[in-house]
């Protein structure tokens, strides 16, 4: 095989050269010469032995400071009420809902990678699925926070759950807001189960390699006494595959239900049948952008280039390009339908969205979400980590702006000009947004520190397959 160098300038010289596929992309999922032991060591030692890079501590400190900002914002919110935010009539849904939709969307890539790609036998998912599943959990945790904070009386959040209450009431099951509660809590629970079931064998590996007594006890309890029995594996694999099958319709349904929050409402700019598919595409788009934003620095810091290869980066970029085009199609269709409907309110909504007081945000969205990602057509950009990082960052910002455009510009001018108004975020709106990023990153830094971020047992399967391939 002719080893070909690819355009990755950041890789150090000691890393072996990769065999390349006919298209010129790195074809291998693992570096040559990996064994069961070497992959176990390089993943397990991050948790058990390695001293953590100083950048971990620095990153954790920044994330933790932002988390404290979130706690401060929540404390003040609980004391004063939602009046500390910029929301008012007509814009009663402000940053809280924008952030909620944004975070839920980011979570989608994890389930997409771990469930849908598993069912499609996409082997390249193996070294990133654990990581992205964790990302899903943390993103959904951040998302779940916002509707609760937005309630006004968060202490009675449980009124929305069906329980036999003394008031003789039931939730309104015809309301998309109640569907949302079920969709988001089911999504979180199933993601957690799926993640933990996959984690059990790896926790057992760490238990067998742990050196200190505390680690042995904690890992011993969490591994549930897993011993790798063939009977156990058989049931484990059956359960894992079925969970993937269950998570697949779930991931498509969650953002659809979130989009019903808007689409079922009668507001121009919300009341649209394109919303469910367009929200799901947008969710996977922003999810992959977040995957790249996080995995590019992490793989560099922990020297995981031999497992998370350029092929992963290239594939993620391709998924982003494809879903980005779907989202673009959604924007075009929204504008077209507004014009084609002939409805004066729909047409005004579109004109106001592009040229009204928030027009600059709409054009920012087009720049970040539609124009910049077109760079991904170029193989040079897809295989250049720095460029890829910034394109992904642009998509994350763009997707946040998209939700801002949908929520705020639709609300601020509806049918009757006398009820028009403006929305300006306050310091506390921003504090909650950046604070939630702090919560997400704090959880992610702890995950990297205390759990194996790549599925060891699945990478061993890859090693076994590579061995068979060379026979």
């Amino acid at each position: 095989m002719n080893p070909e160098t690819n355009n990755e300038s950041t890789r150090s010289d000691r890393t072996p050269k990769w065999p390349a596929s006919p298209l010129g992309y790195p074809s291998s999922l693992l570096a040559p010469g990996e064994s069961y032991e070497s992959v176990t060591d390089s993943i397990g030692s991050i948790v058990l032995a390695q001293k953590h890079p100083r950048s971990w501590l620095f990153g954790f400190a920044v994330a933790f400071a932002l988390l404290m900002l979130l706690l401060m914002a929540i404390g003040w919110l609980f004391y004063k009420g939602v009046g500390i935010w910029g929301i008012n009539v007509p814009v009663a849904w402000g940053f809280a809902i924008v952030n909620f939709v944004w975070w839920i969307g980011i979570g989608h890539a994890g389930t997409f990678i771990s469930a849908i790609l598993l069912l499609l036998h996409q082997k390249w998912r193996t070294s990133i699925n654990r990581f992205t599943e964790a990302m899903t959990l943390f993103a959904v945790a951040c998302a779940g926070l916002f509707p609760l904070l937005h309630l006004g009386r968060p202490q009675v959040f449980y009124w929305i759950l069906p329980y036999p209450d003394t008031m003789g009431l039931w939730p309104q099951f015809r309301s998309p807001l109640v569907w949302d509660v079920f969709a988001v809590s089911t999504y979180f629970t199933v993601s957690l189960i799926f993640w933990y079931v996959g984690l059990i064998p790896d926790l057992a590996t760490l238990r067998d390699r742990a050196t200190t007594r505390a680690k042995k006890i904690i890992l011993g309890i969490t591994a549930l006494g897993w011993r790798g029995s063939a009977r156990h594996w058989q049931r484990h694999q059956a359960a894992y595959l079925l969970l993937a099958g269950l998570a697949t319709p779930l991931v498509l349904s969650v953002h659809s239900v979130v989009s019903f929050d808007f689409a079922v409402g009668m507001l121009p700019g919300w009341h649209s049948t394109i919303f469910p598919p367009y929200f799901v595409a947008g969710a996977i788009y922003s999810g992959f952008a977040m995957v790249l934003n996080i995995i590019i620095p992490v793989r560099k810091l922990y020297h995981l280039e031999h497992m998370i290869t350029m092929r992963h980066m290239n594939n993620a970029a391709n998924v982003m390009l494809a879903t980005g085009m779907m989202v673009t199609y959604g924007y075009i269709m929204e504008a077209f339908m507004a014009w084609y409907s002939g409805d004066v309110f729909e047409r005004y909504m579109m004109a106001n969205r592009a040229f009204g007081p928030y027009g600059w945000i709409f054009w920012g969205l087009i720049l970040f979400n539609v124009l910049v990602p077109q760079l991904l057509w170029s193989k040079r950009v897809r295989t250049n980590l720095v460029a890829l990082f910034f394109v992904a960052l642009s998509v994350n910002i763009g997707m946040w702006l998209e939700r801002f455009v949908i929520v705020i510009t639709s609300l601020h001018r509806d049918f009757v000009p006398s009820s028009w108004g403006m929305y300006y975020p306050t310091f506390w709106d921003w504090a909650t947004l950046f604070g939630s990023i702090g919560l997400f990153l704090t959880l992610l830094f702890l995950f990297i520190r205390f759990l194996p971020m790549i599925s060891i047992s699945e990478v061993r399967e890859l090693v076994a397959e590579e061995k068979e391939g060379h026979k």
Binding site: Y36, I221, E458, R460
Partner: protein, 179 residues
Amino acid sequence: MTATPKLHGLMAEFVDHELVIAAAERAHAEGYRRMDAYTPFPVEGLSEAMGHKRTEIPLIVLLGALCGGGGGYFMIWYASVVDYPHNIGGRPFHSWPAFVPITFELTILLAAISAVVGMLVLNRLPRPHHPVFNVPEFARASTDRFFLCIEADDPKFDLKATRAFLESLKPETVKEVVE
């Protein structure tokens, strides 16, 4: 109570998953039934090689899904039609299209929970200790070694003959597993 610890079985150690499948097939052909294999990753066909049939997990998940879907729809119907009928824009109380999303979510939720609970219960987990952990070599079962353990309560088990049989499979080691 005797001074000699009770024997759980004899365990052979292999370096590759193909070797352990071949060993399990041989052992099954020899007439051994009570045995188990231990591997660092799921090895396809190993459980079948030992004569085990398919698992009951899919059936459990199906039951969980039916309970979730049926129970969920019943709850919504009962709340919206019987216990707390509420006129929303003149629509019928039993407005089933609006009941679909929650029914769907509860189907998935209960199916997923029954998958993991079913897997753990059938596997008798959590079980923090097991005799196989007494063998020092077994620490590598979660890294790069593959084990086949023929258990002492197998009717065909005979310490000498079984050891000779396992040795004939050319394993790395053959160890006694004590309880």
